[in-house]
Amino acid sequence: MDSAVPPLVEVSGATVRFGAETALSSVDFRMFPGEVHSLMGENGAGKSTLIKALTGALPLDAGEVRLNGVPVRFRSPHDAQQAGIRTVYQEIDLLPNLSVAENIMLGREPRRFGAIDWKRVRSEATVALADLGLDIDPASQLGTHSLAVQQLVAIARALSTEVKVLVLDEPTSSLDLDEVAELFRVIRELKQRGVAILFVSHFLDQVYEICDRITVLRSGSLVGEYKIQELLRIDLVQKMLGRSPGEIATRAPAAPTEKKSQTVLSGAGLTVRPGIANATIELVEGEVLGLAGLLGSGRTELARALTAVDRLDGGTLLVTATGGSPRTPREAIFHRVVYSPENRRTDGIIDRLSVEENIGLALQAQYGVFRRIPRARMRELAASWVEALGIRPADLSRPAGQLSGGNQQKVMLARLLALAPRVLVLDEPTRGIDVGAKVDVQNLVGELADSGLSVVFISAELEEVLRVGHRVAILRDGAIVDTLPSDGLTVDSLLALVAKPDENAE
């Protein structure tokens, strides 16, 4: 771009690896003074990794950061803060046990005779809060306030020092409309002062309202940098989700067996605050239902509600075949409704147990403590799944934590399939795994459905949802807005549905 001013921050060739996985691969990124820049991408695209690298929370494995043209190296968040780069994280990183004033002033409290001058702490905090149009008692404990107020306090803390670059990671996710308007007023003011603002949000409307420039990431790589006026909303979503037309033809969409379409699982009015509200869904035997929606649309929350992982705040879940309404994952498994979690490292794999134990775990848990599956049978069972799913290395006694992402996902699938499930809910089963494993998983889902299993398939990649799913449920802002057969949809039409701006304002 042909800006006359040199960029304030410039990141070049940024690469970050976690073990074997590359979270960020040679990404270039820049911000100009007095602009609002947005970083866009799906979960796992590398947004938070890039932010962390920029703010000193993560070291770069390769590449460099330049501030005002001078190469800098931040060894800690503290270094970055000293250099004028302030961050407000999505998970509020303040201290709920201390007062609002302290949270703003902590670490640089005004002192008199060596003691903290509480009067001045409070008055300076009041000024900082007033800048944001916030009228709250600075002496009150932070924890007594709503998340929205806490978010604004975090911003007040960031602004109360000399700030050159302000990073806002999902700052509006807990704010209401008025609060968002107030925040935008502040952002515009900061822009006038020449501050560079990185605004990360999954609300496209907000991005288009406030931002000047967008950088899009996908799977840890740079897609491109665009001026907001030159990028249509639909193009943005398309760039975020990625699309390679060649891939689409690889598998003919399976014809759903319409003959005996018996409902196996139904959820009516499912509500889990704050993720999903009043979602109604029916799953038919032998079908793959894809869930399509942007980040934050309630995909994962719906999956967890369907498998009784989270307690429902409203609505009913019914396993039609058995007439049961499970309330815990254990009960869901008893009714043969199983869930493969989005985050397999923290919620799925038991990393220090062996592959064999990981595969047999859920089945053994169903059998109970005293009916131990004999060692030989367990081995045989695990071996057969390792063989069937092509888990590599085929070493049953290796701790599952040492496997690659794709193989861990297959171990998870093996654990669930060993339960002979009726309903399989897969949350992002193909995220972060290599192409070969991805195709394996997709084909497996097809085969399973052909043999009568019902599958709920969640993916951020729309063409994958279309390719695997017979029907697609479209989620927006925690609600199912439509459920359509996939043959009637193209990636473009699905994109349009998923990215549609909110019209339910009235």
Partner: protein
């Protein structure tokens, strides 16, 4: 060979053997075993006999630690157990009758089972941190024990009760058989049923275990109950050894020895994978260490200094910081070596 070295119990076993060998060299009498009236005597035999209470407590502690917990109340529970048993025997008209002894032991271990279940309730159901939850009973337990004995040290004369810690069976101390029985039962329960694997799963990743349908609450509860039960038997052995219910001295600081034994045996305090064999080795190591210190002429109250040194060494060896530093050091040595070879070419 590599597999043996890699085995979790390898290094703890090496440490124990080294300690035993040091003792054997320093005092030849250490290995000698004499036979009197068909009963074995000697340092090693006393070791087997004296380690029994710690063995029982450490076994229970291993299971609790595997669930990511800790049980600080074991010493106090031992005191309660001894107090209950001896009070029943002292109040009984027939303190020598096997029936009285059986009743006393049964009531005592049921009480301690309840105490363990209480800990389990606080941890598994109320979700209180294990250290704190068991601290409550650690504090109150000795008070309860003192209350049972009316604040006195109850003493009894009862040959069958005395037999449990001081008697001999088939040439070996009876207490040794109690240890063996406890080890065998714990191993059978953990490894012949699925309990061991499920316990490890819960200890490593509670949330993933819940999603896999593991009943983690019951498993945690059971672990504390088992620990209470085993501490109860340990309390019986202890009181049988001195034939008195000394509520202040019974099991004093044993929770620390037990934790140390578990850690020495290679089980991580972070929960998960556990090793009963390791704990057994750990118990013998501690007991040998104590006997060594006494042999060296160090007054036994000073023993804790050595224990502290051992913990610091173990902890330092396990610490990521030291490991990283060591790896770096090795790496740099290797690096410089390869450099020199290049130069040599």
């Amino acid at each position: 060979m590599k597999n043996i070295v890699k085995h979790r119990v390898f290094w703890p076993a090496v440490a124990l053997v080294a300690l035993l060998m040091l003792n054997a060299i320093a005092r030849p009498s250490f290995l000698s075993i004499t036979v009197q009236d068909g009963e074995l005597y000697g340092s090693l035999i006393s070791l087997l006999r004296n380690s029994a209470p710690l063995m029982l407590v450490a076994l229970g502690m291993t299971i609790v630690i595997a669930t990511r917990g800790i049980d600080l109340s074991v010493g106090a529970v031992m005191a309660v157990s001894g107090a209950v048993a001896l009070t029943i025997i002292a109040d009984s008209p027939t303190p020598e009758a096997p029936g009285t002894i059986a009743t006393a032991v049964a009531v005592a271990v049921v009480v301690t089972l309840i105490a363990g279940a209480w800990n389990g309730f606080l941890v598994a159901v109320l979700g209180i941190q294990p250290i704190i939850a068991t601290l409550v009973l650690m504090l109150a337990g000795r008070g309860i024990a003192l209350l049972i004995t009316n604040g006195e040290i109850t003493t009894v004369n009862s040959a069958p009760y005395k037999f449990m810690s001081q008697g001999y069976l088939l040439g070996f101390p009876f207490a040794f058989f109690v240890s063996i029985a406890a080890i065998v039962i714990v191993v059978l329960v953990q490894r012949r049923t699925a309990l061991g694997m499920l316990t490890e799963a819960v200890g490593i990743n509670p949330e993933a275990s819940r999603l896999a349908g593991v009943r983690s609450r019951g498993i945690i509860w059971g672990a504390y109950a088992a620990s209470g039960l085993l501490a109860g038997f340990a309390g019986i052995l202890y009181s049988s050894n001195i034939m008195a219910a000394d509520s202040n001295a019974a099991g004093n600081l044993i929770e620390l020895d037990a934790i140390l034994a578990v850690v020495l045996g290679g089980t991580s305090l972070m929960g998960g994978k556990f090793s009963i064999a390791g704990t057994v080795i750990g118990v013998f190591t501690i007991q040998t260490l104590k006997s060594t210190i006494v042999f060296l002429g160090v007054p036994s109250p000073v023993t804790p200094v050595f224990m502290a040194a051992v913990v610091i060494v173990v902890v330092a060896v396990q610490s990521p910081l030291l490991r990283r530093t060591a790896l770096r050091a090795v790496g740099s040595i290797r690096g410089s070596n390869s450099n020199t070879t290049e130069v040599a070419k």
